[in-house]
């Protein structure tokens, strides 16, 4: 009795075994990059890249395939793609989704939501906006074409690690987008000299792309947003009557927001503490001389301050809040009203940036 039931169970297991579709790794095509762009008025261009292994005797070579589909919706595009493919296309290894500028301007929510809904796709994937059409950005010639699938994810990852842009991924984008008092940003990719490069940040109002900042502004944006640990920037200073350039690398920075008054409109003190080292400079500034250092420091502090305040003003003019002043306001308000904040309060807030720069060292030579 016992043995028979065991046998029956085993038999059952084996017959049912074939019910689930296997996803054997070398029998599926793994999409690594998705591009979504406008084609015509109401048509989308859906581009995917995936690696293909060509078996050539004992040697096998990796090649990258890029395919584009024009259709009304992304779902339909996926279906057509699957019909065309020799092996099933799978989304579990997607690393980057690129959005064309025109799509981004109309709003990304539906696309991002459909990615978020798909449990196959990870939360850490990068989203990015391209300055030109995605297809154009994604077509690279030469050796780099072979790595096109991972090219964009490596590019963004490297820039995050190098701290030239603040950390970003789909989760952070969704967090900001669905937050009342905060607006989202994404890296902006542009093709320069036939090679895609990070251009700066694309700034969003809710899910619509409205404005962008370049890499220089991104440096200050990162400082203001979460006190970045690294990042390098060049400042021009006047030294002994001459115009010189100093490059500093942040070692540590910290930012604090303090609400000074609320009425009639909130005034914020932004304390930015930066510890940095001088990596190079032009001219002959003696950095062992504390007076000279002080002079340089003062000037850099001043230019950080003006840049930051300019940036905040720019955000206010575009009525977007990527720095999250709204969150800070909300966390101290019991009758929080997002619309009122956005329409009347935010454009009128005032932010005073106070920079405290500390120069730690200046390299191994005098």
């Amino acid at each position: 009795m016992k043995r028979k039931s065991m046998l029956a169970l085993l038999l059952l297991v084996f017959t049912t075994g074939c019910i689930i579709d296997t996803q054997i790794i070398d029998e599926i095509l793994l999409i690594q990059t998705i591009g979504i762009d406008k084609h015509d008025e109401d048509q989308l261009k859906y581009t995917v890249t995936f690696p293909v292994f060509l078996e050539q005797g004992e040697e096998n070579t990796l090649s990258m395939e890029v395919q584009s589909i024009v259709s009304e919706t992304t779902e339909e595009a996926r279906n057509i793609l699957n019909q065309r493919a020799q092996q099933p296309l799978r989304y579990g290894q997607v690393r980057v989704t690129l959005f064309g500028k025109s799509v981004a301007e109309e709003g990304l929510e539906e696309y991002v939501k459909s990615i978020y809904r798909n449990p196959r796709i990870g939360s850490r994937i990068y989203l990015s906006v391209t300055d030109a059409s995605t297809e154009e950005v994604m077509s690279i010639e030469g050796e780099k074409q072979k790595r096109i699938g991972l090219y964009f994810s490596d590019l963004i990852e490297q820039n995050i690690r190098f701290e030239s842009i603040p950390e970003t991924n789909m989760h952070l984008f969704l967090f900001d987008m669905y937050s009342d008092g905060k607006d989202a940003y994404l890296p902006l990719i542009k093709k320069a000299e036939k090679i895609p490069q990070i251009e700066g940040l694309a700034l969003f109002d809710s899910d619509r792309y409205v404005d962008s900042i370049d890499l220089n502004e991104t440096y200050f944006f990162s400082q203001l947003r979460d006190g970045n640990q690294g990042g390098t920037n060049q400042f021009s200073v006047k030294h002994e009557g001459k115009q010189e350039y100093v490059v500093i690398e942040n070692v540590f920075s910290d930012v604090r927001y303090k609400e000074k008054t609320r009425e009639p409109y909130p005034v914020y003190d932004v304390d930015l503490k930066v510890q940095a080292e001088v990596t190079s400079f032009t001219g002959n500034i003696n950095l062992n001389n504390s007076k000279a250092v002080n002079q340089v420091k003062k000037q850099i502090e001043q230019s950080i301050k003006t840049e930051c305040e300019k940036l905040i003003q720019k955000f206010q003019d575009a009525n977007i809040d990527p720095l999250g002043f709204g969150e800070k306001y909300r966390s101290q308000t019991r009758d929080w009203n997002p619309t009122k904040w956005k329409d009347t309060v935010y454009p009128n807030i005032e932010a005073n940036v106070h920079v405290h720069l500390e120069i730690l060292q200046s390299g191994a030579i005098e």
Binding site: L9, I19, Y116, P119, S331, Q332, R334
Partner: protein, 365 residues
């Protein structure tokens, strides 16, 4: 009909900690955050604690009832309401336990179908689970408890891993504290009680505990351990998601796991869902053990046959619940019943018992 359980089959009082904790932490933990946040938003950690206090009182009441009778709820029903009415109440309670078992199993299969295998037919896992349930319950109550212990220890590593998403935590979300009305908070607390469902099985396994009443502190400890786990998870979730984002996320716990990445493995949720099986299994098994034990006590039939019968009905009952709506409906039903069992029925039973004892004492003197 006063059946005393032999000492050989009893478990020591500390084991109650594991049973209560294992029963409360289950498949509900994957998605409870969203349901509570619907009514209490960023204050959702408060209702968890409130519900914790309420349920702690309910456990106290259960111990009062059981202590007076020194037996399980079947006996209590018979003593208080007589053979027929009491039997009917017992049967209803048994059906409820059976349904919780079915619900947990079906919900877990649902999670697997959404997150891992879209094309997995429900009946495959049901059959495997049925075989497993039968095997475990045949080993007796001690085996069931052993599974509870394993279900607490082995996945405990997951709780530490669930702290890792704090990398993206934004604690500003919590401020200002308590901005929702008391009504919203209480509505949240009501939803939270549902996640704690499962401890009522104590009503049935009480005679299986050595020195029954001494296990009260362990039961409370087990319950508060669950409260701590739920509160911590709630805090992590609220710091991790923005409110709008949380509202569209059905299984926030799995989405939390999704962000975790190790150099050798990405997408931790696949491992998480699989390991969750070890958490879910004690739930299912204990529920069915309770139901079968109840039937045995009620009708004096051999538990072996009852279990076999239950396992077979499982194969018939579960597969027809084949879409998300059906699972949701079942969820709402069982949760409603569970809520009233905890909040209304047990206090009612406690009150009746109290009056009964008073009246009895008066009659004696």
């Amino acid at each position: 009909m006063h059946v005393k359980v032999k000492e050989k089959f009893q478990v020591s009082p500390p084991m109650v900690f594991f049973i209560i904790h294992a029963m409360q932490v289950g498949v509900g933990m994957l998605g409870f955050q969203r349901i509570i946040a619907k009514s209490s938003g960023y204050d959702s950690w408060i209702p968890v604690i409130i519900a914790g206090v309420v349920i702690s009182l309910v456990i106290r009441m259960m111990y009062y009832i059981l202590k007076v009778n020194h037996n399980d709820v079947i006996e209590v029903h018979r003593n208080l309401f007589g053979k027929w009415l009491g039997g009917l109440l017992s049967l209803a309670l048994i059906l409820y336990f059976y349904m919780t078992g079915v619900l947990v199993l079906r919900t877990y299969i649902e999670v697997i179908q959404v997150w891992v295998f879209e094309d997995l037919p429900t009946w495959v896992l049901t059959v495997l689970a049925a075989g497993f349930v039968y095997y475990v319950i045949k080993g007796g109550f001690r085996t069931v408890v052993g599974l509870c212990v394993a279900g607490v220890f082995i996945p405990s590593i997951l709780f530490f891993i669930l702290l890792m998403p704090l990398e993206y935590a934004d604690f500003l979300n919590f401020l200002p504290i308590w901005k929702h009305s008391l009504k919203d908070i209480l509505a949240g607390a009501k939803d939270t009680t549902l996640t704690f469902i499962g401890f009522e099985l104590l009503l049935l396994f009480y005679p299986f505990i050595k020195h029954g009443y001494r296990s009260h502190k362990w039961a409370q400890l087990g319950h508060w351990a669950s409260v701590v786990v739920y509160t911590l998870l709630m805090i992590v979730t609220l710091a991790f998601f923005s409110e709008g984002q949380l509202k569209i996320t059905i299984w926030p716990t799995l989405t939390l796991l999704k962000i975790i990445e190790f150099p050798f493995i990405e997408r931790f949720e696949y491992l998480g869902i699989s390991l969750w099986l070890i958490i879910v299994v004690p739930n299912i098994v204990t529920a069915f053990w309770g139901a079968s034990r109840g039937l045995k006590r009620l009708f004096s039939i051999k538990q072996r046959y009852v279990v076999l019968f239950m396992v077979l009905t499982l194969i018939i009952v579960v597969p027809p619940i084949d879409n998300r709506q059906a699972v949701n409906t079942l969820n709402e039903w069982v949760n409603q019943i569970g809520f009233w069992v905890i909040i209304a029925y047990i206090p009612f039973l406690c009150a009746v018992q109290f009056i009964h004892s008073k009246w009895k004492r008066k009659n004696e003197t």
